[in-house]
């Protein structure tokens, strides 16, 4: 138990398998819930997934006037409860990454629930299961700590493994640059 989603953005190849797989989770209604961005399409083929980071103190849930966004005991910030969501879209606006999506017809917010159906039993979420490049990984706390240590630069200035972005998140991230300062085998 207790694995977490870990993002190593440098690896992304833009295949969007994560999005295709998202629809396969039970309870996801065939709709994908995250984004993959072309970082600088006129210049190179760098891409990156934009996933819900499952904030420890999530802005979306805080901003919801109807308390429709529940937080699971694993830390996963769940999709809006159908019976409570009033369709105000406060959550989308307040999220620093604009993650919650909106179904206009149903007047209902839907977002990544970290495949709670799977992750509650420590089965990796669909995106991290399929990601061919290991951009998305499902790791133990120890494995994440090891990753972060690996990528801290000696001068302490340029670290890819930031403690957190906006605020503390359950999903951990390595920003691009993991190969900088890498000691070569020969």
């Amino acid at each position: 138990m207790g694995r977490k989603l870990f993002l190593e953005l440098e690896n992304c190849i833009g295949c969007r398998s994560c999005l295709a797989a998202c629809t396969q989770c039970g309870g996801h209604d065939q709709r994908n819930r995250n984004y993959v961005l072309d970082v600088n399409p006129f210049v190179n083929r760098q891409t990156m997934p934009l996933m819900c980071l499952h904030c420890v103190n999530p802005a979306c849930a805080r901003s919801c006037p109807a308390q429709a966004i529940q937080i699971h005991e694993t830390g996963a910030v769940l999709s809006a409860l159908v019976e409570k969501c009033i369709g105000c879209q406060n959550c989308t606006i307040s999220c620093p990454y604009g993650i919650p999506k909106f179904d206009v017809e149903q007047n209902l917010m839907y977002k990544c629930d970290l495949c709670i159906d799977r992750t509650k039993d420590d089965i990796p979420p669909m995106c991290a299961s399929v990601c061919p490049s290991n951009t998305l990984q499902w790791l133990t706390e120890e494995e994440i700590a090891e990753k972060q240590q690996q990528h801290e630069m000696e001068n302490g200035k340029w670290v890819t493994s930031m403690p957190y972005l906006e605020s503390e998140t359950n999903v951990k991230i390595n920003l691009p640059g993991i190969l900088q300062g890498k000691e070569k085998l020969f």
């Binding site: 190179n44 061919p132 190969l179 020969f186």
Partner: protein
């Protein structure tokens, strides 16, 4: 077996009222493991679940694999045989009516018999493919030669793997696409990847590729475009399309010059070194740079890294192979490993990224115009005799060798070939020089097409037979490692569709050739006969029983008998398959692409794939997610080139060559050479880039030069004279 650092014991998620069927993806040579989710009340496939326990791909899939299950119960499936009575509608979707199997078979048999009576046995032809099981590939070869008794059979591997095959045969005496298992890839110290857009075409190799760099190893990528794998490479050798051989010779020269040649390996295990050494002397960094357009420094550095690496794997794909010197390119890159002795041990060797799911197995067992099962040659009397015994015919009944895939279309043009039985392929999109090829198909007296969707090629048929998707049949496939794996049936065939092997057995019966086929009543039966037919051949599958495949997570060929567990690593004993046991280092004079840029056609056109589509796109263009992600082709152009033609992003332009033209949307990116334009080839009708490509064939592999020809762009709405 071979469980590595990426392998995790994970239980699968099982939903109520569902069962999981273990199988593999229908598409590329990676053959990613997957579980199909089947609803236990409707017995229909409804989704996919990762197969974490498959050692090669540990649950990973690209978006094609994730959505592959949507093919089976797709609304576009052909559910009944279709007949078109009005031949004037050929080349369109119009005029088909539903028919019974009996009516369709009768029509086919009548036409085939009439043609053969009037014009001889060889007036019929079979054009096949390798996106299907070994059992089907094997039976198709037998059906052509014993059922139809024609010499003309060939297959779409000529457009895919034939140059790799030719190069391996020449260099090693045997054609197994990878000398090592994929679980070695991330453990090597240097990957030298040429002409492979790995991240898009074989995405589930990528976690292993990146791991080489994460461990401090090197990644060298050879490609005219900065593809997603080239983006992160330590060295990106951005060559002009069609100049691989110059680069391979140039690097070989530096390896020898700088003392990286392994004298004792060369001495004991190879032939041809001295001659090759002489030939490559000319390829100094300056000359190589002039031919390839790559900076000298980068060539020197790449050779130094490859030379120093304790272990290295040279990998390549269609970029190097789809040229009219594809075989030479392959042998040229193989030379690097042979001269440095970086082969015949774990973590070092050679691999090609096999394109189609069964591109490896399908080319070994008799669908090629000159081959018989087990990689036997139809020109070798002993080989013919061995197969005749299995088939129950006499050697004089064995047809002569035929001609290669593209050459069959030439014979359709001149009416040597008058009838075609097409299966598992869509040459109306995938063949080069399409205006010619489409005309050839139109010119046929009678054409049968077996497919599960109405492909662009089916539009030329008189009869369409509804076949099944991969998930409605079972059998074995040989993945890009040379590992024989098992595809399992997840659902009964829908409508009246049937697997191709069943159609061929039923047709043979009606053609009066039933005695050679009627003992085969299941895919398993065919599998048993097939194993026997391979016994004693180079590609020996005899010991690879379905049980063993299950127990061992696949079996690497050669696998000769019950006790043999297979051969994950080739050449560990440093014995190659030429009669003297030595490998051949090849002296390969450079020649440029068949069509070089000129004043009239100043640009280099190259083609390739995108991650969302597979081959001709007949399957993937129908899958909503994949279609949404890439609905139409486009032409990739460097901003400087675009500027010189006054083009802007998303503007439509006319792209043309000596053979054809098409309109494409401009996609501007710096991630391509300034003298080169790129178009993906997955699209049909007037969107096919193969209307423009050249049919210059490799003299050995008969592979067309898809990867390089001369082209010109015209801004639309502006007269050429301006």
């Amino acid at each position: 077996m071979l469980k590595d650092k990426f392998f995790r014991e994970i239980e699968n998620k099982e939903h109520p009222n569902e069962k999981l069927i273990k199988t593999h993806c229908s598409y590329c040579g990676m053959q990613c493991g997957m579980n199909l989710r089947v609803d236990t009340s409707s017995n229909k496939i409804i989704g996919v679940e990762p197969r974490y326990d498959w050692p090669v791909t540990v649950g990973k899939m690209c978006p094609k694999g994730v959505t592959a299950y949507q093919q089976t119960n797709h609304k576009d499936r052909i559910l009944k045989p279709l007949i078109r009575d009005d031949a004037s509608k050929k080349g369109t979707k119009e005029g088909f009516r539903e028919a019974t199997w009996d009516e369709a078979y009768d029509l086919i048999v009548n036409n085939f018999k009439t043609l053969q009576k009037e014009y001889g046995k060889d007036s019929l032809s079979v054009f096949s493919g390798v996106s299907m099981t070994n059992e089907k590939c094997y039976l198709t070869g037998k059906f052509a030669r014993v059922g139809l008794q024609t010499r003309y059979i060939d297959y779409n591997g000529r457009f895919c793997m034939s140059s790799a095959a030719g190069g391996f045969l020449r260099s090693f005496g045997v054609d197994r696409g990878s000398t090592l298992p994929w679980t070695d890839v991330h453990e090597t110290d240097c990957l030298f990847i040429a002409g492979s857009n790995t991240a898009e075409c074989h995405p589930t190799s990528m976690f292993r590729v990146w791991e080489v760099q994460n461990r401090g190893g090197y990644l060298i990528v050879v490609d005219p475009r900065e593809t997603p794998v080239a983006r992160r490479a330590d060295i990106h050798l951005d060559l002009k399309p069609g100049t691989d051989l110059a680069l391979a010779n140039g690097i070989l020269h530096l390896l020898i010059e700088n003392g990286y040649a392994d004298e004792s390996f060369i001495q004991n295990h190879t032939n041809g070194f001295e001659e090759t050494k002489e030939l490559v002397k000319e390829f100094t960094p300056a000359y190589t740079s002039e031919l390839t357009g790559i900076d000298e420094d980068k060539i020197i550095r790449a050779a130094e890294i490859y030379g120093k690496a304790p272990n290295a794997i040279v990998m390549f794909a269609r970029g190097a192979e789809q040229q009219h010197k594809g075989v030479d390119n392959v042998s040229g890159y193989v030379n690097l490993a042979l001269v440095t002795g970086k082969i015949g041990r774990p973590k070092a060797g050679i691999a090609t990224f096999t394109g189609q799911g069964n591109g490896q197995g399908g080319r070994e067992h008799g669908q090629k115009s000159d081959l018989l099962p087990g990689y036997r040659k139809i020109t070798n009397p002993k080989h013919v005799e061995e197969i005749c015994k299995v088939w129950g015919i006499t050697p004089d009944e064995m047809p002569e060798p035929g001609v290669s895939a593209y050459e069959m279309f030439e014979l359709m043009h001149n009416k040597t070939i008058r009838g075609l039985y097409l299966l598992c392929s869509n040459p109306a999109v995938s063949a080069p020089n399409l205006n010619f090829v489409r005309e050839a198909m139109k010119n046929l007296d009678f054409m049968v097409c077996s497919d599960f969707y109405l492909s662009e090629s089916a539009e030329f048929a008189d009869v369409i037979l509804p076949s099944v998707t991969w998930a409605e049949d079972e059998g074995t496939v040989t993945n890009l490692e040379g590992r024989i794996i098992k595809i399992n049936q997840a659902q009964e065939p829908i409508g009246q569709s049937k697997p191709d092997w069943r159609m061929q057995i039923e047709l043979a019966e009606r053609l009066g050739r039933g005695q050679y086929f009627r003992h085969l009543t299941s895919a398993k039966d065919i599998g048993e006969e097939f194993r026997l037919a391979t016994k004693g051949g180079n590609a020996d599958y005899y010991g690879a029983t379905w049980d063993k495949i299950d127990q061992q997570d696949g079996v690497f060929w050669p696998c000769k008998d019950e006790e043999d567990t297979g051969t994950p690593h080739m050449f560990l004993d440093k014995k190659f398959y030429h009669p003297d046991g030595k490998a051949k280092i090849c002296a390969l004079p450079y020649r440029p692409p068949a069509e070089e840029p000129c004043e009239e056609y100043p640009l280099r056109l190259t083609t390739g794939r995108v991650v969302y589509h597979y081959l001709s796109g007949n399957q993937t263009r129908r899958i909503p997610f994949l279609k949404d992600m890439c609905p139409d082709p486009y032409v990739e152009i460097h901003p400087e080139l675009a500027k010189s033609y006054d083009l802007s992003h998303e503007e439509e332009v006319r792209l043309f060559t000596r053979r054809g033209e098409a309109i494409f949307t401009v996609k501007i990116t710096e991630a391509i050479r300034k003298d080169t334009v790129f178009v993906p080839y997955h699209f049909g009708h007037e969107q096919s880039i193969n209307l423009l490509t050249i049919a210059a064939l490799d003299p050995m592999s008969r592979m067309p030069e898809y990867k390089a020809c001369a082209a010109q762009i015209e801004k639309l709405g502006v007269k050429e004279s301006i």
